[in-house]
């Protein structure tokens, strides 16, 4: 139990340190990627949905699994879609001489 609290405190400090350095340009993608990362609650959902439990319990797990999986898929895809758009001048190429 105390070990899990340790993990929480240390991970929070790492999180605060790392996120503080994230470019302000990328705050929207940051939000969508952290959203996909925290959908790791999918592991809890798998254990409930696939365990040797009565169906009424497992159905809760299956719905939770669906919800987390939606976040994983849409979170990573939209983050990548947004990040692809961030270009510097030379790559964008459209400085247009006519």
């Amino acid at each position: 139990m105390i070990a899990t609290l340790y993990v929480f405190v240390l991970a929070s400090f790492i999180g605060l340190g790392v996120v503080r350095r994230v470019s302000r340009l990328l705050h929207t993608p940051l939000m969508s990627i952290t959203n996909a990362l925290s959908a790791i609650s999918v592991v809890g959902a798998i254990l409930v949905a696939g365990g040797d439990y009565p169906p009424r319990i497992r159905v809760l797990g299956a719905i939770a699994l669906f919800a987390s999986m939606t976040n994983i898929v849409s979170g990573f895809l939209i983050t990548d879609r947004m990040l692809k758009m961030f270009k510097t001048d030379d790559k964008s190429g459209g400085r247009g001489r006519t």
Binding site: T34, A36, S38, G50, A62, F86
Partner: protein, 469 residues
């Protein structure tokens, strides 16, 4: 044996997640972040699925396929709808935590009260409350952002609002304590259900008094709640990967919320309980001052003669989907050797970083997107400031008028530019319901109309004037 394998898998996944956030510090490395995140998540799913305790596979497969079916379209929404999508995904995250928590409680209850230790119960109740509160709160936020008809856009306030909320919170806390102390009592499952209902109600009550202009902060706070509910789930399941990922998400939401609050010069409590923009609306300047409007031709001429132009985008640009037209204007001006920069206010738009993403979508190089603090010292040297659908973030009342509800909020100093053109859809005040002194300044000319239309006309004018041989 299997336990060891999955634990190592979780450890590697945790490390990958931390790298993912680290790589978000620059647009050049950011795409690696996605690969690291996907790799970590996939690894965690595989090792969990391979656990010997997982014996039923059909529902898992069905749920994963359904997740793809819903997730893929949700990732293709227009970028103007990203705030709603984000709020919706917080709701999904909260739902996952709340549902797993509910399942775990009834499971352990049937296995016997000795499994329901106080520490475990506290974590479980935290998971369930945070999870379900995030569900309804985020759905309300998404409804407000999507402008769904039956969700009120303006803050809803009523007498004794905060007292009522506080009272409900007290009741929830009392019930939670009772449940922690007697988790296996005959009435416990009922109390558990009541706590779930109260959490759902709470989510609604917390969001209805909050106005649209505060949405960036609210989304960040909900992000934090969703992360914390994952942490609580990690405690419930004794899973360190969940705790790590949840803590990363929670601290990210917290930092974003703090940045948003600072950018509005307001405190958390003020955002959450202040019912912004409702009370002070009466203090608007009134109609005795007049706007000066300008024609497209005049504005185009002024832009052409400028040597430096700063464009200040706001939510109005997103609403009008004007970012691509803005790009054409940017090209026209660049072609003439004019320096063009964008001034980005942290709370412009409806979520953190909203403007950057929209402008990046329109292929504007991110090196020309300048943060408020970096561009403000240069504003007095700027020939033309073009305000595209921004309102409160350029309102000089924030600096000068102590009676204004936005007094003290840092703003982009558009009013210090040599001349200002402001594109505005109508003569109504902005989302916060405050009149903007910038529009009445001697150096400001108004261009009334839809942002996309007005900029399109400007581009046509500029292209017509120079494209001839």
């Amino acid at each position: 044996m299997m336990y060891g394998v999955s634990q190592i898998g979780y450890l590697v996944a945790s490390a990958l997640f931390i790298f993912a956030l680290h790589w978000m510090n620059s647009p050049t490395t950011a795409r690696k972040a996605v690969y690291a995140g996907v790799a970590g998540t996939a690894l965690a799913i595989v090792v969990t699925w391979a656990e010997p305790s997982v014996i039923h596979h059909l529902w898992i497969i069905v749920a994963i396929v359904a997740g793809f079916i819903v997730g893929v379209p949700l990732s293709r929404v227009p970028l103007t709808a990203v705030p709603q999508r984000t709020a919706l995904s917080h709701a999904f995250g909260g739902a996952a935590a709340g549902l797993v928590g509910t399942a775990e409680y009834y499971l352990r209850l049937s296995e016997g009260p000795e499994h329901l230790t106080p520490f475990w119960m506290v974590a479980l109740i935290a998971e369930v409350i945070l999870g379900f509160l995030t569900v309804t709160g985020s759905l309300m936020a998404a409804g407000k952002l999507q402008e769904v008809k039956w969700v009120p856009q303006r803050p809803v306030t009523y007498p004794l609002q905060n007292v009522t909320n506080l009272l409900l919170f007290g009741i929830t806390l009392a019930l939670a304590t009772a449940l922690t102390l007697h988790p296996a009592a005959a009435w416990a499952p009922v109390i558990f259900a009541v706590i779930v209902a109260l959490a759902l109600l709470f989510g609604v009550l917390l969001i209805i008094p909050i106005g649209g202009a505060d949405m960036p902060t609210v989304i960040a706070i909900l992000n934090s709640y969703a992360g914390l509910s994952a942490v609580a789930m990690g405690f419930v399941l004794d899973n360190k990967l969940l705790i790590t990922a949840g803590a990363l998400d929670g601290s990210s939401g917290l930092i974003l919320a703090i940045i948003m609050c600072k950018a509005m010069n307001r405190s958390f409590t003020n955002v959450l309980f202040g019912a912004f923009g409702q009370v002070k609306q009466a203090e608007a300047i009134g109609g005795d001052k007049v706007y000066k409007s300008e024609t497209i031709e005049g504005a185009a001429q002024a832009l052409e003669q400028a040597s430096s132009v700063v464009i200040v985008p706001g939510y109005g640009m997103a609403v009008a989907q004007a970012q691509h037209k803005v790009r054409e204007l940017y090209d026209q001006l660049k072609k003439r050797g004019i320096t063009v920069k964008f001034a980005i206010h942290p709370v412009a738009g409806r979520m953190p970083g909203h403007m950057n993403v929209l402008l990046a979508e329109a292929d504007i190089p991110y090196t020309d997107l300048i943060e408020m603090d970096d561009i403000n010292p240069d504003m007095p040297q700027v020939d033309v400031a073009l305000v595209v659908g921004a309102n409160d973030v350029v309102n000089p009342a924030a600096r000068s008028d102590k009676g204004s509800p936005i007094y003290g909020m840092p703003i982009i100093d558009a009013d210090k530019a040599r001349s200002v053109f402001a594109i505005k859809r109508s003569k109504n005040p902005g989302f916060a319901g405050i009149d903007n002194q910038l529009y009445f300044s001697d150096r400001t000319w108004m261009l009334f109309g839809d942002a996309k239309g007005v900029i399109g006309e400007l581009v046509k004018q500029l292209a017509g004037g120079s494209g001839m041989h």
